[in-house]
Amino acid sequence: MDKTLVLGLYRDMLEIRRFEEVAQRCYAEGLVSGFLHLYIGQEGVAVGAISAAEPTDYIVATYRDHGHYLARTHDVRGAMAELFGRATGCSKGRGGSMHLFNAAHRFLGGHAIVGGHVPLAAGVAFASKYRSEKDVTLCFFGDGSANMGAFHEGLCLASLWKLPVVFLCENNLYAMGTPLYKTLAVEDVSTRALGYPMARETVNGDDVLEVREVVRLAVRRAREESLPTLVEAKTYRFRGHSVSDPAKYRSKEELEFWKQRDPISTLASRILDLGMATEAMLKDIDAEVRRDVEDAVTFAKESPPPSVDTLYEYVYADGEGGEG
């Protein structure tokens, strides 16, 4: 295993973890509002998957998008300022936590209608194929999307038209308060792929390296054969659905079981076991990302909110009223 690579993945996951912890703190302090869906526990998926793609490949995510955004952009300031609703946010304060966007990094959001972004992601892949460009689209969604019509139609078209897209289902066993077995007649979301048909993979989402490897193959299938894949990553969110959800529907034991699989601490042990780094070095990484996140908070705090005079901006490309 490549040491720099592994330490890089470790750092990226930690960046997300610290960002989320601080975001929650800021929410408690009333600095962040709206819905706040934390990614804590699932870092292995976004980091592993996005590290397997080229920086020019497209990313489409759900409202639980901080992890994916940071893994792709490392724009800690832009993300935090967006949560604060500031003009300096990555969506200029218009999107908020659920709608992070970054055109330069080909990060296409942040979407809050379950399943609604799946056809959109197929469309991005369609465009790449249309232009004979070799870019691949990574589309992330939760297990809760598997019953949505938009999910079905998106996968049908991707399979039919052989689109270069990787559908990545983050199966964290719950859709809000509902355990998966109550909403899915099959155990693996990836079973859905059989009907389209589409290549499928199931992977341990808490092992960032395994995710990276599986997604690497799916990305290659997309790029070289222009074929879609449905990848299911089994993972778990350590916090509630959103910060306002106490998650009473889960047992302590269950939570503990999964915390043993914490993608970050398990990778840390492996790094130490393999002697890739010392405790001290890992502490330094932690200190560094903490600094970045606190710096982002300061940046966000000092940033101005959007000017109310810009209320009608970004509604129509041709400005207010949108004359054609």
Binding site: S33, G96, A146, G149, T178, V308, Y312, V315
Partner: protein, 328 residues
Amino acid sequence: MMRQIPFRQALREAMTEEMERDERVFLMGEEVGAYEGAYKVSQGMLERFGERRVVDTPIAETGFAGVGVGAAMVGLRPIIEFMTFNFSLVAFDQLVNNAAKLRLMSGGQFTLPIVFRGPGGAAHQLGAQHSQCTEAFYCHVPGLKVVMPSNPRDAKGLLKSAIRDDNPVIFIESEVLYGAKGEVPEEEYTTPLGRAAIVRPGEDLTIVAWSKMQHLLALALPGLEAEGIDAEVIDPRTLRPLDEETILTSVRKTNHLLIVEEGWPTGGVGAQIAWLVQAKAFDHLDAPIARVTSEDVPMPYAGNLEKAILPSVQKVIAAACRVLGRPA
């Protein structure tokens, strides 16, 4: 003194009473059972009625809205909860092409006694896809009824009527009102659909507003009084069918009309009310009908923008003064 209970409890009582009264009534939606409702409206109902009648669904609005329509066609009386009405848009076809039209298409052989309920409108900084008013969409569709209560008492009485109604009823609540308390009688009662309430009698100006906007008006009243404006406040409660008479009678008295709605201005429900009133009480209008609505933009996340976009006490008072030709 009458008991005060929160809006969500009033809704819960309505559903519970109707489910006890009629075996055909059931509640279906995301998180309505074990989780007791995303906004705790159905708290305790699963325990009381069991999984057969309080049905948790996957995220599949087209699917379970359609299931409700089919069940209603053969005699059940479903209450379909949309976690929020933003998500009713993925089931739009089921509501507009099936629920609203099957009775007509079958020549009256089938009735569709079904209620689609859940919160609508903006809450606090939920962003563009989660902060929409959908009443204008549904009010446009013949075959549907649209109800939007503003207080616990009406909420309970209207929901009971909606459940007993033999037509598809779109029943839109509000996230930010679920905790609002109000007087609700202990004894059973229903509130008829299609009847407005005169919340406050007045002489100078008729103000029509529904749901959350009634609470905004309550906050604006002192300011209006300070301006010496004696407003007659009307809550239509049911937007379709609309109680035209109550509104027209009021306007014939006050000769001035202001409509306050949370939704988008273009083609909002207020436009329809304005059209109606000018058509049927033209000679009684001393000034143009005014509307306070949200700005004509998708809702951004930033708090200051959201605040500036939504109707406010200041906007209401300014509009009232404008209608009455007074300097504000």
